[in-house]
């Protein structure tokens, strides 16, 4: 029985190999559709459509590739006033010929202006189980997104740039959305709240330059990456336990049920999985409200990289920075952007000393430090001295001055400081360095 089966299998294979050898010359054309789609989808749209002239067999092979991306890199950049019209013609042409599902549709050509054709495309796509959608308008006023976009039930990724967003009242949310990115969009407070709260699986959120909302609450439990840049909006963050990366440039507002305790603990305290934390603008300052502890109850064991602005003459801010550093035993990269506020010109030395004493960590994993816009004041030097003396594996410390004229004296002093790491290099970056 076994032998008989073996023979049959080998006979079939012999046959198959014979067939294969007769067409070994042109293997690409004979690949199964799914494999060919895999290869073709890695090409620019132009290269992909070009395959239509290879041979009669190739005429419509490209039309079943489910990923359509129209952008300046992929599409030849047409010049002159006809650019937009040509682009529209091409998109219409491609969509008309296309067959099969469209899983990815991205259009971000710099030639694209707002027009009614965009809405026809979105309507066509709404019958197509699109998983990734991107619309980028930069050449004209913002485009009003049609209601049918909100019926893309399979959406996993949504990127809208230069749009006006008005979800219909029947909108229940994108239940599978994992990645949401809104940049230069206009929408109401309620719309943003509705969008955010209806995506329980959201893992990546980018909000940049949002017109309309004054306050945003972010509490999506599965969020891993958060990029928020709009300094006129107050954000409150709650329970982002899985957050791995945060880049925050906003006014920080504590969650209503967290009032009374220290802002820092209540806002950043739950982000125990954080690996990279970037803060800009007033964010750090707004964390300094309430009693700042010496260190957090649980440490950020995974935090590898921090970047924040710091006013070295504001004791409260220093305490927050100290608390942050004390709570990050595995820190590898540190960047501090120094700034100065004239109001705090005279600071009691005692307070500063006390603040400095609170620093109790040894930076056991710290490799790279970048401190920019130094003014050469005592507190800055004290901090640098401390870091140099307590970082056994430090590789590079980069310094750049706030203005010309303080370099030499500053540098001389720094070079004198004791370094715990034999490999530590101090790199001096010119003040005119574009940073």
């Amino acid at each position: 029985m076994q032998t008989k089966r073996k023979l049959t299998v080998y006979m079939i294979i012999d046959n198959w190999m014979e067939m294969a050898s007769s067409s070994t010359l042109d293997m690409l054309s004979n690949l199964p559709e799914s494999m060919l789609n895999n290869i073709l989808s890695r090409l620019s749209l132009r290269d992909m459509v070009r395959t239509t002239v290879l041979s009669t067999k190739w005429r419509y092979k490209w039309t079943s590739v489910p990923h359509l991306i129209f952008d300046d890199e992929y599409l030849p950049v047409y010049f002159g006033p006809f650019g937009h019209d040509k682009l529209v013609k091409i998109v219409n042409h491609v969509l008309l010929l296309h067959r099969g599902p469209v899983l990815t549709f991205e259009i971000s050509s710099s030639q694209l202006r707002t027009c009614s054709e965009i809405n026809s495309w979105i309507l066509y796509l709404s019958f197509n189980s699109v998983k990734e959608f991107k619309l980028h308008i930069s050449k004209s006023e913002r485009h009003i997104v049609p209601p049918c976009l909100f019926s893309f039930g399979h959406l996993i990724q949504l990127i809208l740039i230069g749009c006006i967003i008005v979800p219909p009242t029947t909108f229940k949310g994108f239940s599978y959305l994992k990645n949401l990115s809104l940049k230069k969009v206009t929408l109401s407070n309620a719309s943003l709240e509705c969008l955010l709260s209806s995506c329980p699986w959201l893992e990546r959120l980018t909000l940049i330059d949002i017109d309309g909302p004054t306050h945003v609450e972010i509490c999506n439990p599965n969020l891993k990456y958060l990029f928020f840049d709009d300094k006129s909006i107050g954000i409150s963050l709650k329970d982002l336990r899985l957050l791995v990366y945060a880049n925050l440039h906003a006014i920080n507002v504590a969650h209503p049920d967290q009032q009374g305790t220290c802002n820092f603990t209540s806002i950043l305290g739950s982000m125990l999985n954080i690996q990279k934390l970037v803060m800009k603008g007033w964010f750090l300052e707004s964390l300094a409200i309430g009693d700042v502890p010496r260190r957090l109850p649980s440490t950020y064991d995974h935090l590898k990289s921090i970047s924040f602005p710091l006013n070295m003459e504001d004791v409260k801010q220093i305490l927050v920075a100290v608390c942050l550093l004390n709570s990050s035993p595995n820190l590898q990269e540190l960047e501090i952007l120094l700034c100065r506020n004239r109001e705090y010109a005279i600071v009691p030395v005692m307070d500063l000393q006390e603040a400095k004493d609170q620093l109790e960590c040894t930076f056991n994993k710290l490799r790279v430090v970048n401190m920019s816009k130094l003014f050469g004041i005592e507190t800055e030097l004290v901090l640098i001295k401390f870091i140099l003396a307590n970082s056994p594996v430090l590789e590079t410390m980069s310094i750049s001055p706030a203005k010309k004229g303080i370099e030499l004296t500053l540098f001389k002093e720094l070079l004198q400081f004791k370094r715990a790491s034999p490999r530590a290099k101090i790199v001096y970056l010119d003040g005119s360095d574009p940073r």
């Binding site: 299998v9 294979i13 070994t24 010359l25 042109d26 293997m27 690409l28 054309s29 690949l31 799914s34 494999m35 895999n38 290869i39 073709l40 890695r42 090409l43 620019s44 132009r46 290269d47 459509v49 070009r50 395959t51 239509t52 002239v53 290879l54 041979s55 009669t56 190739w58 005429r59 990923h67 030849p76 950049v77 047409y78 010049f79 002159g80 006809f82 040509k86 013609k89 091409i90 042409h93 010929l97 996993i156 990724q157 990645n179 891993k224 990456y225 990029f227 899985l242 791995v244 990366y245 880049n247 999985n273 690996q275 990279k276 995974h302 590898k304 990289s305 590898q332 990269e333 790279v368």
Partner: protein
């Protein structure tokens, strides 16, 4: 706890290969077969020749050790479990800069992969089909990307030459399709040249007319 289990694979040309469990598990297909209980005897792979299986095993061995060490330094970002193998790092995921050790490891792996995939067409396509059948995502991506790089930026004639595709259009059919469907026939370099010329207004009247005609479908 248990000693490393070994499995035996048999190719379509009758040769057998022994591999460790961890190496075998790089292939989703083989993993499923083992979990379904077919690991006790030989595991037959009628679609794979010994020449190709050797290459596949080389890949799997290299990527077992990488899988192990990358688990330790995992930054909590599970690689896309969906069918996103077509995408090559389009959305930049912010990452902490790797330390010297990890950087060296990544460099080394890249170099290894470049050498590994530097193979002739026959082997490449066989490898592609094997990776598909054996469901080894990383290998499939690598082979598909290599095939794509052989098409990218070429004129249709160059592509036909590379892959031995026979142009079976009649001249009229061809001209028709080229104008209407192929968007245009310029290579990126030619296009850049044209763009510059237009910006500097360096066209002769004949050249301009030629280009206008070729792009008539778009201009009208």
């Amino acid at each position: 706890m248990a000693s490393a289990k070994v499995f035996v694979l048999r190719t379509c040309d009758g040769e057998t290969f022994e591999i460790d469990e961890s190496v075998a598990y790089v292939s989703e297909t083989i993993k499923n077969m083992i979990e379904d209980g077919f690991g006790h005897d030989l595991i037959p792979l009628p679609n794979v020749s010994s020449k190709i299986l050797l290459k596949v095993i080389e890949y799997c061995r290299k990527h077992v050790s990488n899988f192990e060490s990358s688990k330790k330094t995992s930054n909590g970002d599970e690689k896309d479990k969906d069918n996103d193998s077509w995408k090559k790092e389009k959305e930049a995921v912010p990452e902490v800069e790797k330390d010297a050790e990890e950087k060296a490891r990544v460099e080394e792996l890249k170099e290894w992969e470049t050498t590994f995939i530097d193979i002739d067409q026959q082997v490449l396509f066989d490898l592609l089909q094997a990776a598909n059948y054996l469901n080894i995502k990383g290998l499939l991506v690598m082979a598909a990307e290599k095939a794509a790089s052989m098409i990218r930026g070429k004129t249709p004639e160059q592509i036909r030459e590379t892959f031995n595709i026979k142009n079976d259009f009649t001249p009229e059919e061809y001209e028709d399709i080229r104008k209407k469907d192929a968007m245009n026939d310029f290579t990126p370099e030619e296009y850049e040249e044209i763009r510059k010329k237009i910006a500097d207004n360096h066209f002769t009247p004949e050249e301009y007319e030629q280009i206008r005609k070729e792009n008539a479908w778009a201009i009208e």
